[in-house]
Symmetry: C2
DNA sequence: AAAAAGTTGGACTGGCCAGTCCAATGCCCA
DNA sequence: TGGGCATTGGACTGGCCAGTCCAACTTTTT
């Protein structure tokens, strides 16, 4: 017979529980009870334990899944345009990603559980910020080699770029302080950050 | 008789419990039990409840105390020196503060409990980052008026400055990724951030 | 069609914790 | 010195939760 997509057993069920658990942890934190996770997954508690041995194991697999899902696609931008275009696009993309509720919740979860599960926070950092920063550093070095930028310390410059673009706004959103910035505010923020960066790093 | 500094009763005791609780929450999070707080304060559980009605109340007062204590002294720098000196000093100070374990723990605590106690995170943001950013924005506007800088959007520029200086390193420390930066690394980071900022904002 | 495997819900254990109660004890002030 | 007050520790309640167990039930496989 045709494979049942909504199979009530087997591997599909495993995945269904896992993604439900991931969303549950994201939204309600590690403190959520297994009973509640099971309820959200539409499954009995025992079934959760049949598939994942313990809460810690389930959390571990859920975080791994989240990290995988949230990992930035990266490198879809055409690298030949003017740096201003490339950087502006990168900045907009990074900032709107950083403000996404899912991403904010993920960040909160990692920070909140960094004591209990130190590896996960580090993994998330590596899969996210670190990867993107390295990629930008490569781009900056490359453009410098082509004479379109004058960046000496590419890694530091990349860190500074993301710090400028996301740092403050991200923090404010995390702390729930002030209103969520409007699209225009974000644009102004991004445009000025890119302009500042370029004023400092255009070849003279 | 002379007032007993280590008084076993009265207001001094109240303060003693409060500061012990503040440290306890900082180090072990809101999940810590009242029994443990009492133990750390060298006091019985009942006494904690005599002084503070509930765990939430105690947490509230503890956070208020922490916010007060950790609030940046601010404005001790001579504002007449060259902006490079002032900014470099400000950057160094902010970054080393952001990396202080006490400060990192406070940040973690606020982020972790932002759902349960949204007001506190917002208060901490206001008392910390927001205040300092406003102060820097004023300084930038002032120096621009004096012709020593050319900053148009002082608030945005100040946000960018702090983002550059603290953003990335702070995040890495929060996530427990990589080694704690050495003093030289911090200096390089700060010097380059200030240089970048000034290259963009020196009057031409 | 029947066995094997997976699922269900509900009951249960043991542990942790906020908050209360109380009788005994120590402290402070008149 | 004595009376009032805070403190103590230990027992206790009620609630929540991870994890287990089991007997009835459903799905899958052969």
């Amino acid at each position: 017979m045709a494979t049942n997509v909504l199979s009530r057993t087997g591997r599909a069920r495993h995945e269904a529980i896992l993604t439900a658990a991931a969303r549950a942890f994201l939204e309600e934190g590690y403190g959520i009870s297994i009973d509640r996770v099971a309820e959200r997954a539409g499954v009995s508690k025992q079934t959760v334990y049949n598939h994942f041995g313990s809460k810690e194991d389930l959390f571990g697999e859920a975080v791994a899944l989240l990290i995988q899902d949230l990992t930035v696609p990266l490198d879809t931008a055409p690298k030949d345009s003017d740096p201003e275009i490339v950087l502006r696009q990168l900045a907009r993309q990074s900032l709107s990603m950083a403000l996404e509720p899912e991403y904010l919740n993920g960040h909160r979860l990692m920070v909140a559980e960094a004591q209990r599960f130190p590896e996960f926070a580090a993994m998330a950092y590596e899969a996210g910020v670190a990867r993107v920063t390295r990629s930008l550093a490569n781009y900056l070095a490359d453009q410098t080699a082509r004479g379109r930028l004058a960046v000496k310390e590419a890694t530091l410059a990349a860190e500074h770029f993301f710090g400028m673009v996301t740092g403050h706004i991200h923090l404010r959103a995390l702390m729930g302080a002030g209103a969520i910035p409007t699209a225009e505010q974000i644009d102004r923020h991004v445009d000025l950050a890119v302009a500042t960066f370029l004023r400092a790093y255009r070849p003279s």
